[in-house]
Symmetry: C2
Subunit: 172 residues, 2 copies
């Protein structure tokens, strides 16, 4: 099964090991993820994640930034699209289906007034809309089943669609 | 006031123009943000945002990825920290306070079982904890006021802390 194991350039054997480990000890499923942000002047900052090159952030000039990088709400839209991509490829690969192409467009609507202090209320996205284009060697019914499974299990999708406690503390 | 206008390497004149424009026509505050994700094989993808270099995404090897970039849930943690950084610098600058240093650590807890199909329920972060270290030329009371204002107006903070409708459609 060496060929099947590399379908869509994925090797699921590590996931099988992880599932075995979680079945042995459910605490293995309790993960913690981290980002360390450092301010770089103006509205520029960088997020250090594990050993990767820090990810830059900025705001457009219309929001007093210097427009050197995507802004934080765009980063959220990107994270949602990237997470859904993992979901579709995982679900299709688990069914033995070759993926030829996958494009995911994410748009989000946001009223700037609460952020700018011009109105009270919800400063975040009011909604997010995602369009998924998949070219895969399967039929429409299977794609629809995959789609429903992806939406039902997306970590970033669920983080956005549900209220998550966010605790912000000043430590110095 | 040329010096004050560049406090913390920020020029707030563009924000004043934006506020004027919104006061003239509240529809100006209705913004749309976008990311276009393209699959690159395995669990690798790239998010194109405006004209910037596409932002890469991947999963760790333990989740069947090739570990070439932060994963989507780490990207969410980074976006939260970057957004809060903008908030603190904006609020401090608006008060004429010099910021010397700002570091924001974000950690999020996530149960992998729903994502892996091993349990039903919430596949996203169960909580996010943020530690903020600010070195600024002000006193603790002012910092606390700034902190409360930032938390009350953070676009990414509010996006995560509140339920946001996420509509995912298969279009091909």
């Amino acid at each position: 099964m060496a060929t099947a194991a590399r379908l869509n350039d994925l090797d699921f054997s590590t996931v099988a090991s992880l599932v075995d480990a979680i079945n042995d000890d459910p605490q293995t499923a309790a993960t913690v993820w981290q980002a360390d942000v450092r301010w770089r002047g103006g509205f520029r900052s960088e997020a250090a994640i594990r050993g990767f090159e820090p990810v830059p952030s900025d705001e457009p000039e219309g929001l007093a930034g210097s427009n050197t990088a995507p802004n934080p709400v765009e980063q959220v839209a990107a994270a949602l699209g990237n997470c859904l991509a993992v979901g579709y490829v995982a679900q299709l690969t688990a069914r033995g289906i070759t993926v030829n192409d996958l494009e995911i467009g994410v748009t989000g609507e946001l009223d700037l007034r609460p952020f700018l202090g011009l109105a009270p209320g919800h400063a975040g996205y009011s909604r997010l809309d995602v369009s998924v284009r998949i070219d895969a060697d399967t039929d429409a019914d299977t794609l629809q089943q995959v789609h429903e499974q992806v939406v039902a299990t997306s970590p970033v999708g669920h983080t956005l669609a549900n209220p998550v406690p966010v605790e912000v503390r000043l430590v110095a």
